[in-house]
């Protein structure tokens, strides 16, 4: 009897050792005050940091392989013409308010997202050529498209298309974002706009995707707070007011990584690298040689080292290296290594010379000066300043001005610029269509290349990954061959993490943590 008791005790201890005991609390610092946090309505990436753990999605993407794995949908089929996606849903899933999750809930969510009334800023457009949704039975639902759309699964794996409780949505209306209800590993407790957002562990969670390590979350409560001012982020960590904090400024990251109490987890973000678009319709940048000269005249490693303290890799093409479809051959074929002599030769070939001895190149009495439009975030002014300094040595003048995002959009759409930078995250290479298709909103190089338009359209339609990779490789090469952009760096998010927080893993977008797997050090 005594032996049996001891054995039982031992077993209990062992089990307790394996499964971390739930409890504890962490404070997670967000870097923007989000512009509204209803994932169906709003577009900020900040909202996804907490809400990826509140909502489940039909499918998930494995960041290691890029494959899509089951989520709320156990399996799915795509029709031969690529226009009908049939999802077979998991049974026994309930929302945090007790509402059952089923095909009807999926229909409700998709119809909400696509309604004019909701005025979605992102989710609706992620569905591409969405035509409608059909409930087949309790656990089967179809999404209908007017034409094939390869990025659909990628879209459906993101929190913006997460499944919300129809009952809660109907109850709260436009105030739903303060009372969100999903099926995820964490429950939404409260949101005080501008101050904090609180999540509590969902003890009943048992339907996580295979890519989660844990079945239910460990940390009992997670509070999110907003640190919009970059200079205040590392102090918040160091005073213990936050345990995790994204977007630590490079110089603070260097210091924190030396500390015994903190570490820097730098997560590479897939999408479009930080790059300067060159307006190919405005002289002198309509001349390929001048655009190439700017590329050769740019010491990118020096810029990345100065501004980003080597926290992020130098970019060589339009896609960051961790994006599906990124072709490393772009780097070897079009390295545009720093070569001021070659840049000067190209400029001379294009007819630019310093004829009046004022230090600026000129042609037909016109000096070589470029208009640069910058936005105040993402270290764009700092990079712009270094570019201007490097190009000054070649005899190129730069007039730069810093404007707000809406102003920059307007300036670029009117072609007022020679150069304008941008960066955007996204895990599907279809993101290139937003920038290099002749009709795209961000076609800031003002490129009009029917062949490239064709590749980009084809890439959005065909579902075979190999075929897509080939198409996007062609696009990436064309962009660099034609010197449409000056890539600067791949985006990396330096997260400062207190060492009491363990096993912080991130999804395929790089931005969104899997809070379910987080544990606390003893």
């Amino acid at each position: 009897m005594k032996r049996f008791f001891l054995l039982a005790l031992l077993l209990t201890l062992l089990l307790a050792g394996c499964a971390p005991r739930p409890g504890g609390r962490i404070v997670y610092g967000l870097t923007l005050s989000p512009s509204g946090i209803d994932p169906h309505v709003n577009a900020s990436s900040e909202l996804g940091i907490p809400l990826t753990s509140v909502y489940d999605t039909l499918v998930y993407q494995d960041p290691a392989t890029g494959e899509f794995v089951p989520g709320l949908a156990e399996r799915w089929e795509v029709s031969d013409d690529g226009r009908v996606y049939t999802f077979h849903l998991r049974r026994g899933v309930t929302f945090h308010d007790g509402t059952p999750f089923n095909a009807e809930a999926v229909r409700f969510n998709l119809e909400r997202i696509t309604s004019d009334e909701l005025a979605s800023q992102k989710a609706r457009f992620m569905l591409g050529p969405y035509e409608g949704v059909e409930v087949v039975d309790e656990t089967t639902v179809r999404i209908l498209l007017s034409e094939p759309f390869a990025p659909l699964l990628d879209s459906l794996s993101q929190v913006y298309l997460g499944m919300a409780s129809p009952a809660a949505v109907e109850q709260w209306g436009t105030e739903y974002q303060l009372h969100q209800v999903g099926t995820g590993p964490y429950m939404f407790v409260e949101y005080v706009p501008g101050d904090h957002l609180l999540l509590r562990r969902n003890p009943d969670y048992a339907w996580g995707p295979p890519i989660y390590e844990h079945n239910t979350a460990t940390v009992e409560e997670i509070e999110f707070r907003f640190f919009t001012d970059p200079a205040t982020r590392s102090p918040a960590l160091e005073t213990g007011e936050a345990d995790v904090m994204g977007e630590i400024p490079p110089q603070d990251a260097a210091r924190l990584s030396q500390s015994e109490d903190f570490r820097i987890e730098a997560v590479p973000i897939p999408g479009v690298s930080l790059m300067f678009f060159m307006n190919t319709t405005r002289p002198p940048l309509d001349d390929l040689r001048v655009r190439q000269a700017l590329l050769y005249g740019t010491d990118r490693p020096a810029i990345v080292s100065t501004v980003f303290r080597d926290t992020s890799p130098v970019a060589y093409g339009p896609l960051s290296a961790v994006t599906f479809g990124y072709d490393p051959a772009v780097r070897t074929e079009y390295p545009y290594s720093y070569d001021p002599a070659r840049a000067a030769a190209l400029l001379a070939e294009a007819g630019w010379a310093d004829s009046d001895g004022d230090g600026l190149l000129d042609r037909d009495g016109q000096p070589l000066t470029l208009d640069m439009v910058l936005m105040g975030w993402g270290f764009m002014p700092e990079v712009g300043q270094l570019l201007a300094a490097q190009w000054a040595e070649l005899g190129i003048g730069v007039n730069s001005r810093v404007v707000s995002y809406p102003e920059a959009l307007q300036a670029a759409s009117e072609g007022q610029h020679h150069l304008i930078p941008f960066t955007l995250s996204g895990s599907d290479p279809d993101i290139l269509r937003k920038f290099f298709h002749s009709q795209a909103g961000f076609n800031w190089s003002l490129v009009n290349d029917p062949e490239m338009d064709g590749w980009l359209e084809e890439g959005a339609r065909v579902s075979d990954p190999a075929q897509r990779a080939t198409l996007y490789s062609q696009v990436q090469r064309r962009v660099m061959e034609q010197a449409l952009v000056i890539p600067i760096r791949d985006y990396v998010n330096p997260n400062g993490v207190s060492n009491r927080v363990q096993n912080l893993r991130f999804d395929a977008r790089g931005w969104f943590p899997w809070l379910i797997d987080v544990t606390l050090a003893r």
Binding site: D38, Q177, D229, T232, P235, Y405, Q410, Q439, F442
Partner: protein, 309 residues
């Protein structure tokens, strides 16, 4: 008295209408299309962006937009945020209390510190105390809140660990931002108070009081300070705009909730309904603070009371 009050009310209504109209016009003149800002990164087609613009009423002729806006205002409706998709009235109601709390606390700090420094400087005119107090006032006046805020965090939060560096909450969270913002306010108050006290110290009634044998300290606190408080209040009221502007930065540095951060975001995104709403609330606060300062000054200075009746 009643006529006076009616005139004040009319003036207030005029100021509010003016603020509403200026906010409306200023935003029309700012470049940048709100619909494009909202949707550009989402991959919406140009047609979809145009449809959203129409939905927001941005395609309508300007006079029509203005009229609709005024009608909504008269009904007490501030509209819905284009960015957040929520009622502007509710959003402001959420963010107003922490900003008012900060503004009041900063005013208390500013007036106390400013009056103390100014009086001290005047009473010990041309001594090292005067120089030190004036120097401190100038430092407060000319240091941007951004800089002093970060310094305060470094010293009191990171180094001494006395106060939290961020957040909204109890007194502990309020103290540091209120000190920083109040210190900036104290600078301008101290300067006004100093010159006023110097002036009053030479005034006949003070000489008379002195001749009656009123002691130095009683004289200073009972007579001189009372005369100096009015101008201090006036400066405070006039500085209210500065206080609101400073609150924007202070809220950002201390990661505090508040109207300032809401307004900043709305301006950056051309979220017109929110910007207009915040401007209107700011104008209302300005009108109220001026009214209060007037009343307080009347109460402090008997001569004004007679004029007013």
């Amino acid at each position: 008295m009643v006529r006076n009050a009616a005139r004040r009310l009319l003036e207030a209504a005029f100021v509010l209408w003016l603020a509403a109209t200026l906010a409306f016009l200023a935003l029309q003149l700012t470049p940048g299309d709100p619909a494009q800002a909202l949707l550009a990164a989402s991959g919406a087609t140009p047609e979809q962006v145009a449809a959203r613009r129409a939905q927001l009423g941005l395609d309508d002729p300007l006079p029509l937009q203005y009229l609709r806006y005024l009608m909504e205002l008269l009904r007490g409706d501030l509209g819905q945020s284009w960015l957040h998709g929520r009622s502007v009235g509710r959003m402001i109601a959420e963010q107003l209390p922490p900003t008012v709390e900060l503004a009041l606390a900063a005013t208390a700090v500013g007036v106390t510190l400013g009056v103390a420094l100014g009086t001290l400087a005047a009473a010990r005119r041309d001594t090292w105390l005067d120089a030190a107090a004036t120097a401190l006032a100038v430092v407060g006046l000319s240091t941007p809140v951004y800089g002093s805020g970060l310094l305060a965090i470094l010293l009191f939060s990171l180094h001494l660990r006395w106060l939290p560096a961020s957040g909204t909450g109890g007194l502990a969270h309020l103290l540091l931002p209120a000190l920083v913002l109040g210190f900036a306010l104290a600078g301008s108050i101290a300067r006004v108070v100093r010159s006023r006290v110097v002036e009053v110290l030479g005034a006949p009634f003070v000489l008379a009081a002195r001749a009656r044998g009123v002691s130095g300290r009683r004289l200073l606190l009972g007579h001189v300070l009372r005369a100096a408080l009015g101008p201090a209040l006036m400066v405070t009221a006039l500085q209210f705009g500065f206080l609101l502007g400073g609150a924007v930065v202070t809220e950002s540095v201390f990661a505090r909730q508040g109207l300032g951060r809401l307004a900043l975001q709305a301006i950056l995104w051309r979220d017109l309904p929110v910007v207009r709403g915040v401007v209107l609330v700011g104008a209302l606060a300005y009108v109220l603070s001026n009214l209060l300062a007037d009343l307080a000054q009347t109460a402090l200075d008997p001569r004004l009371r007679e004029e007013a009746t």
